[in-house]
Amino acid sequence: MSVRELIDKQTSRIENPVVLLSVNPVVYQEGIMSAIKYFSERFGMGLYITLNKPCAFLQGAFEKDGLAPGNLVYLDSITNTPERRTESCHYLGRMRELTDLCIALANMISEEKEVKFVFVDSVSTLLIYNDSKSVARFCHSVTEKLRSMGLPAALVLVEMEEGKDVVAQLAQFCDAYVKTGELK
């Protein structure tokens, strides 16, 4: 079953689902691509929070794979640049504090009224420089905020030992826990 089929199977009956998407490292890129396409086709324009790969790289990759450039706006906390804003991206600077991410997220949702879903790539990156308790609390706060606004979301993480305790915590407040299969 493809990633989009897996997500659809578990969330099609939920109006604004919050999905925890655990992706095998070997199929990470394909998994993300498939998931973002699913969310984009189902909900419309999205806010992509990238903590993992620079926005410029993602834009190129998504466009190449047929995702229209206007379908996403980005909040980028990985590109090594001072904080600045362009038409499609708010660059925060690399590895910013969780509280900074919260504020930037709230501001972006408030400014970009067309945003219909939020995609967080990835929770695993936050675990590099944050304790798991803080990461879980941050994710909970973000999803609660999004729920209160009726926005669906995907929290992505890469399957590995480091995130196991966080998965258990996050799964409790997500509507679906989707685990991608292996390389076919």
Binding site: N24, P25, V26, Y28, Q29, L51, N52, K53, P54, F57, I78, N80, R94, M95, E97, L98, T99, C102, I103, A106, I109, S110, S122, S124, T125, L127, I128, Y129, N130, D131, K133, S134, V135, R137, F138, H140, S141, V142, E144, K145, M149, V158, E159, M160, E161, E162, E182, L183
Partner: protein
């Protein structure tokens, strides 16, 4: 080299046989690196390429298992899998058993160019596949290297992290990784980890190249082992925000460091919940 490869393979064990995908990518990046640095000629000149690569590997003690000839095209390389060639098969890596008695039939030290090829290959392969999340795997490699070196007796065990870290530094300096290494913590509470090296080739070759390519990963083996030890005390390492590489070979690196404490508190969560959107 063996410690690095042990750490690498161990760190990828959790994805089972699929780790082959990452290792294959790593192998091809390694070949590309050797060509780009002029260590071996381009594979467009297959005979010279194969000869040169074989010479490098034999010189470093990897002679007996180099399948560089293709039966179909005599003289042409058969896409050698460098990771496979360099991996020691006599230590049951996957099982975590590494008897002291089997310490290298090969050279104990390999040429730096071969070591940096592995470092570059694994960093690029992880970055291509996973982006910054690859750092989680790199940090696991550090843990695997530490286990290996402790088990081998190359580093003395200690329950005191400061003593253990000093042993690790002594080991790497003695092995020629850097002429000297010193570190200090800045800030109260500490928020910056300052590293000072003399003649640390990793930073002038691999790190510089990786940074130019836009990667935020750090694969300095001494740092990875260090992260593993600091990690046992709950410390986390963040972004490298300053690097100064001088022509004299001196290197200064400043990285964010976070002591063991909650970084998004209940108070933060409450403040965010009350924010009007």
């Amino acid at each position: 080299m063996d410690a690095l490869l042990y750490g690498l393979l161990k760190s990828l064990d959790f994805i089972g046989e699929q780790k082959r995908v990452i290792l294959d990518r790593m192998g091809s990046v390694m070949l590309q690196y050797l060509v780009e640095t002029g260590t071996v000629p381009s594979s467009g000149r297959p005979r010279e390429f194969a000869r040169s690569l074989r010479r490098l590997l034999i010189k470093n003690g990897y002679g007996p298992k180099i399948p560089l000839q293709s039966k179909a095209m005599p003289g042409a390389p058969s896409s050698p899998n460098l990771v496979e060639i360099l991996t020691p098969t006599d230590r049951h890596l996957a099982g975590g058993v590494f008897p002291k008695s089997s310490v290298s039939r090969r050279k104990e030290k390999v040429d730096w160019v071969l070591y940096e090829t592995v470092l570059y290959g694994m960093t690029r392969a992880l970055d291509d596949q996973l982006g910054v999340q690859g750092q989680l795997i790199l940090d696991r490699i550090g843990t695997g290297m530490l286990d290996y070196l402790l088990e081998l007796g190359a580093i003395e065990r200690s329950d005191d992290p400061k003593i253990l870290i000093q042993s690790v530094i002594d080991y790497f300096v003695k092995a020629g990784y850097a002429k000297s290494f010193q570190f200090e913590l800045e800030g109260a509470p500490p928020d910056t980890f300052v590293s000072r090296y003399e003649s640390a080739r990793y930073y002038t070759t691999v790190f510089r190249r990786i940074q130019k390519e836009g990667s935020a990963l750090l694969s300095c083996p001494l740092c990875l082992v260090g992260h593993s030890i600091w990690g046992t005390q709950g410390w986390k390492f963040g972004d490298i925000f300053e690097v100064r590489i001088q022509s004299s070979g001196k290197v200064l690196v400043k990285a964010k460091v976070y002591p063991s404490m909650e970084r998004f508190t209940e108070k933060d969560a409450l403040r965010f919940a009350r924010m009007k959107v």
